[in-house]
């Protein structure tokens, strides 16, 4: 558990430095859901990346297990793409998924996957040719899905925590302590950034943080052979991303979407009633209601907890008996 402590402390100590770094170099974003529209450094994700990297590196140092390095490399590639986006502005929405495919390469080239996923009711499949393609597709899908819920202070972290807790539970039940430690390390970094990222946020985690976490969850699901549980646990994020793409008619930059899904009234969030506004999870939460940002983000977390429980239930009922 020393690695977990290192990850948490590194993130906690680096977060204030990253805030200074973000302000110094103007890596900032506008907090649009506050009436006074403050400028917030979007460098908190770097503290998560460095904290998790420190923890996983220690794990790698103490027990060269063959899975820590591919997972860390995949996460770092995605985090780097996110950081480039934080620095240079939005990457072309059609190019970004292609770039995120690179995050799958460490897992594929280092063979850190088992192409025999267990499907409910069917059992273990043999997807030797198809599975690598699915691995490549999964990184852009999940990373963008996790990125899409980055709409409120703390929303990505609070919706990622249930997934990580579910993963830890599954690995504990299986007795897979290596993957349990990796999930624990990332969870520790997430919890450590919360004091800075929760409402009112002193730092955003930025694209670097959300893409890093997306890649971490994808890697954990693939290496840990909990694909089905992961898909179910990530339904809120996937639903959010997919419905936005459908409702705005394809992969387009949010900047060019005229109608907003929610609007701010007297400091409270309320859903747009316009038919052509994007369909998002937040819009559904705020339908016909005036919700504070703080409440909305906790509601998002409750939904993520619910899907994580469904994921765990699916894993226990349909997967675990057939995994070996």
């Amino acid at each position: 558990m020393f690695e977990v402590l290192v990850a948490a402390l590194t993130t906690l100590l680096l977060a204030p430095l990253m805030i200074i770094f973000g302000r110094r170099f103007g890596i900032e974003g506008i907090d649009v859901h506050k009436p006074w529209k403050p400028r917030i450094p979007k460098t908190g994700g770097l503290a998560i990346i460095l904290g998790s990297a420190a923890g996983i590196s220690m794990l790698l140092w103490f027990s060269n297990d063959g899975i820590s390095f591919p997972i860390l490399a995949a996460c770092l590639i995605a985090g780097l793409i996110g950081f480039y986006e934080d620095l240079q502005g939005e990457i072309n929405p059609k190019l970004k998924p292609l770039l995120l495919v690179f995050a799958s390469l460490p897992i594929l080239f280092l063979g850190a996957y088992t192409p025999r996923p267990v499907i409910p009711f069917l059992g273990r499949t043999r997807l030797y040719r198809v599975y690598p393609v699915l691995v490549m597709i999964s990184y852009p899908v999940v990373c963008n899905a996790v990125n899409s819920v980055d709409v409120l202070n703390g929303s990505v972290i609070l919706t990622s925590i249930p997934f990580l807790v579910m993963s830890i539970t599954i690995f504990y039940l299986r007795g897979d302590y290596r993957l349990m430690m990796i999930a624990f390390i990332i969870l520790a970094s997430c919890i450590a950034i919360l004091p800075y990222n929760l409402y009112p946020a002193r730092t955003f985690i930025g694209n670097s943080g959300s893409l890093f976490l997306g890649a971490a969850m994808t890697s954990i699901a693939i290496v840990g052979r909990m694909e089905m549980a992961a898909i179910i646990a990530l339904i809120p994020q996937i639903m959010n991303e997919m419905h936005v793409i459908f409702s705005i008619g394809g992969l387009r930059s949010a900047k060019f979407v005229e109608k907003r899904p929610v609007r701010l009234e007297d400091g409270m969030l309320t859903a747009s009633r316009e038919k052509d506004a994007p369909i998002t999870l937040l819009r559904m939460i705020c339908a016909e209601a005036k919700v504070s940002e703080k409440t909305a983000v906790w509601i998002m977390m409750i939904i993520a907890c619910f899907t994580a429980m469904l994921g765990l239930l699916t894993d226990v009922l349909f997967i675990e008996g057939m995994i070996q």
Partner: protein, 83 residues
């Protein structure tokens, strides 16, 4: 209270999606994945099997979107705006 109603309705929608996802994953496994991995000798039934699997999966994705759209506009945003 409206937020609580919205939360419960979203959870109900997700439960429907979860149940149908389990069903769809089974359908894809016995159609698309099975054919691609086993490469059976009879080409026409295999192609048909993949096409049917993909159509069902595509229909499910569109169905999911349409259900969410209906859920938002017909249930969650159904009442007139308060003045």
């Amino acid at each position: 209270m409206k937020v609580l109603r919205n939360l419960l309705l979203i959870m109900l929608l997700i439960t429907i999606v979860w149940i149908t996802l389990l069903f769809i994953s089974y359908i894809i496994s016995v159609t698309v994945f099975y054919t691609l991995e086993h490469l059976p000798s009879a080409i026409l039934p295999s192609i048909l099997r993949v096409v049917i699997g993909l159509i069902i999966a595509g229909a499910w994705i569109i169905g999911w979107y349409q259900l969410t759209k209906a859920w938002l506009y017909k249930i969650l945003l159904s009442r007139k705006e308060e003045t």
